[in-house]
Amino acid sequence: MRMELIQPFINAADAVFAESLQAPTKILDLSMDEETYRRKGVAALIAIKGDIEGRVILDLSAEVAMKVASHLAGEAVPSSDQVVRETVCELANMVIGNSVTLLNDQGFRFKVFPPEIHMNEEGLAGSIDTEAMVIAIETPCGQAYLNISMRYLHRRRQERDIASVID
């Protein structure tokens, strides 16, 4: 996985949490994950298709999401699944929106699909060749996780071409 595709998402997530919460954040850990993603809390999955393709998952616990919602609203927000969903979606949209701006500036064109929220107990299925970067971010409201799997589409085309020659 190419770091230049991952970096805009890391920068955007860091900036979105820091600016939204008006406090410094910290990247705690970066690791590679080749298994089906097991979410840690409520996860928003956003798919991307175009010059680059893959998916980004923003994952945070319901408790962290409620703290973020209350901070953004400027008052205590009564806890509910709907607020948790809205918060995770809104944060995921902001992270993606900001990273897309950075990637568009680099000349990449692609379509971003609306976030899918996952709150059930199942893992998020990945394709056989899914290799993801998992980033843990420490925020004043608790930890958030970003799981990114992204690649150039033209590289896939080359792989398909090679495969067809071998066949």
Binding site: L72, A73, V77, E86, E90, N93, I96, N98, V100, T101
Partner: protein, 150 residues
């Protein structure tokens, strides 16, 4: 907390805002900033259709409009509002900062664009700019937010 000079209309009354976003807490976040700027919330809407109805009902000085919403998206709502009210002042507030979206919104009649997460100081400058060409709005007064009500 950061303090801002109140943005007032020419008649020295608070600027009235319509806040449109499908996320309740995102609306609350914007409303918090409006209050910091000495403004008043004329109405709220969670989708484009409601935004049009609320615009007609409240006749706000400024609309702060999200782009991605259920039922009717922000850009279409802008087009419909501006078609009926050519002097409507609409600022797009969205996490989606694609050039195409920004251009489409501006072509439909939006006055400006601000990307989420919204920084109060950025929104404040944009509102000053948008109000600046409004004959009914005086722009920023020297008084701190809230003082005009005293």
């Amino acid at each position: 907390m950061q303090q801002f000079a109140a943005l007032l209309r020419k008649d020295n009354q608070p600027v009235r805002y319509l806040v449109v976003d499908d996320s309740v807490f995102a609306r609350k976040n914007i409303i918090k900033m409006i209050e910091m700027f000495g403004g008043e919330v004329a109405g709220e809407a969670g989708d484009g259709l409601t935004a049009i109805a609320e615009f007609n009902r409240t006749k706000p000085d400024i609309v702060l409009m999200d782009i991605t919403m259920p039922q009717m998206e922000g850009i279409e709502a802008v087009e419909r509002i501006v078609r009926q009210h050519g002097d409507a002042r609409i600022v797009m507030v969205s996490s989606v900062g694609y050039q195409e979206n920004i251009l489409a919104a501006l072509q439909k009649g939006a006055k400006h664009f601000v990307q989420k997460p919204v920084k109060p100081e950025v929104l404040y400058e944009i509102l000053r700019y948008v109000l600046g060409d409004d004959p009914n709005a005086a722009g920023a007064h020297v008084a701190l937010a809230g003082e005009h009500r005293a």
